[in-house]
Symmetry: C2
Subunit: 347 residues, 2 copies
Amino acid sequence: MLTVNAYAAPSATDPLVPTTIERRDLGPHDVLIEIRYAGICHSDIHTVRGDWGAIQYPQVVGHEIVGVVAEIGSEVTLHQLGDRVGVGCMVNSCRECENCLSGDENYCLNGNTGTYASRDLDGTITQGGYSTHIVVVEDFVLKVPESIPYEAAAPLLCAGITTYSPLAHWNAGPGTRVAVIGMGGLGHMAVQIAHAMGADVTVLSQSLSKQDDGLRLGADHCFATSDPATFTELRNHFDLIINTVSAVIDMDAYLRLLRLNGTFVSVGAPAEPLPVKVFSLFGNRRSFAGSGIGSIRETQEMLDFCAEHGIASEVEVIPASEINAAYERVLASDVRYRFVIDVDTLR
Amino acid sequence: MLTVNAYAAPSATDPLVPTTIERRDLGPHDVLIEIRYAGICHSDIHTVRGDWGAIQYPQVVGHEIVGVVAEIGSEVTLHQLGDRVGVGCMVNSCRECENCLSGDENYCLNGNTGTYASRDLDGTITQGGYSTHIVVVEDFVLKVPESIPYEAAAPLLCAGITTYSPLAHWNAGPGTRVAVIGMGGLGHMAVQIAHAMGADVTVLSQSLSKQDDGLRLGADHCFATSDPATFTELRNHFDLIINTVSAVIDMDAYLRLLRLNGTFVSVGAPAEPLPVKVFSLFGNRRSFAGSGIGSIRETQEMLDFCAEHGIASEVEVIPASEINAAYERVLASDVRYRFVIDVDTLR
């Protein structure tokens, strides 16, 4: 066992505090990663506060992890000491359901093993990336291209893949019109990726306060959803809408923005059901879909794509001591566009 | 003008009555069809009763029309005197929006001209197929293959194409598992078509009362949705679910029956919005879509496909005098599987 420094939530209501946790001894296929940076995802906050169900405490979260390979198990072939690597939202899966067998382990029918707050194969609860080290089985460890700075790469492991996967699956590219709802951690990645794929990109945001950033990141157009004219002007317009916000929205208003065979994909989700008028789906043969992160194969593809196109996350690096303050700012949407913890401040 | 016999609704609440209506003089591209049979679609009832909005009266409905070409306009090239032809849910479209230009006139952005209760190009309200004759522009007239009896062909023009189009669009075929919700006019066509396409077909019906028919028409399995075990046993199972019922259903329960990349397509719709939990869409990257009839090109393809595979509608032929009684039986789901009016009884 390796005892390592970490920042943990002691309960659903108390602030996170410094602590130590144990990492398992390396199995033959395990990789020990010395973590350099860990992104702060809104999901971290939902999880520690019990918004998505009760969890055990203390709990370390963080699933946007980058670092260096510090040790490898006896049979590891995919990674070497010193490699720049990353870990995203999952650290294992059942490996035997039809989705795992087809390489879609993010849709594991037995539930993949989440990077935190998930029951691991040894029965323990997984602990995430707000920590100096993590042990992960080699085939759930990604290679982080040299050209992407560590801190800017961390958010790619969740925000990047969560938006890349639906953009790739629904064929964003030259000749397609893509809308991105919300310019936060996920939205600012979706804009860059969709632009790099060659799509015509529109940001749909409550206001135009982030218009300059949107255009700088590759958007071709920005519209305010607080203006009713937006919904008239853009009617029957988009091939693909990526919804990154988890608030309850007027689905019918957004569905009407889709042109023939268009798809509205949610990657964020409110806990409440969304009312959908089926007549809004009839017109233009529209679809309303969901997408959950991405597979390991797709995540590597996304990292390589980002490197090739010079894409990364825009981040604000903070020491571990500022995690609680950062949480409040995330909840107030006061971050452009992702907080990343400098894990050296935990050593 | 040609004055022809018809059966019309005099108001939203009175029974249909025999009457006469006028058909326009033939334009150069028009075809005069002597109608032989007209199917009774649930939409006919919704329309005359004002369920989908107020309409003008008297109104003749019926959009499952088959007959013989009795006269052609001076420039008609697609049809000849004596041809066996059909007319479905639309008789024209704008011909200039991007959907019409791509051959998807059923999704005409300016609203196609419905076969009844729709404003025609000359400003009059279209009158449907419960009538001895109809005048339709040649490219909205379909060819009915010789091998399909007239009366069994009529329902193909709406029930057939409405189910064929999504089955074809979402690639029902060998290796795919298709569920059909509801065994009515649409459902009994969906089962036959999906089976002929090579899919593994499951009927999901309230009870097993139509199980024998389902299996005879080509279903491989039948399950009762009144049995909660159905939803456990079939979890993550289907590639495509075609929902032909317009009642409010528990969307989340049905969405969970979809396997990876599966799609739930509604071709029937309740007026009320359906609540959808986005988390039900995340799993297996599921989609909830709508589909509205089919294009003229697809409708011809469907008719030819049905002829090739020996598929047709199972019908109960009635004289026009029984239309009102048939409406009550349709509302009570007491028909296997489509009423078709023998239009000779109107002459």
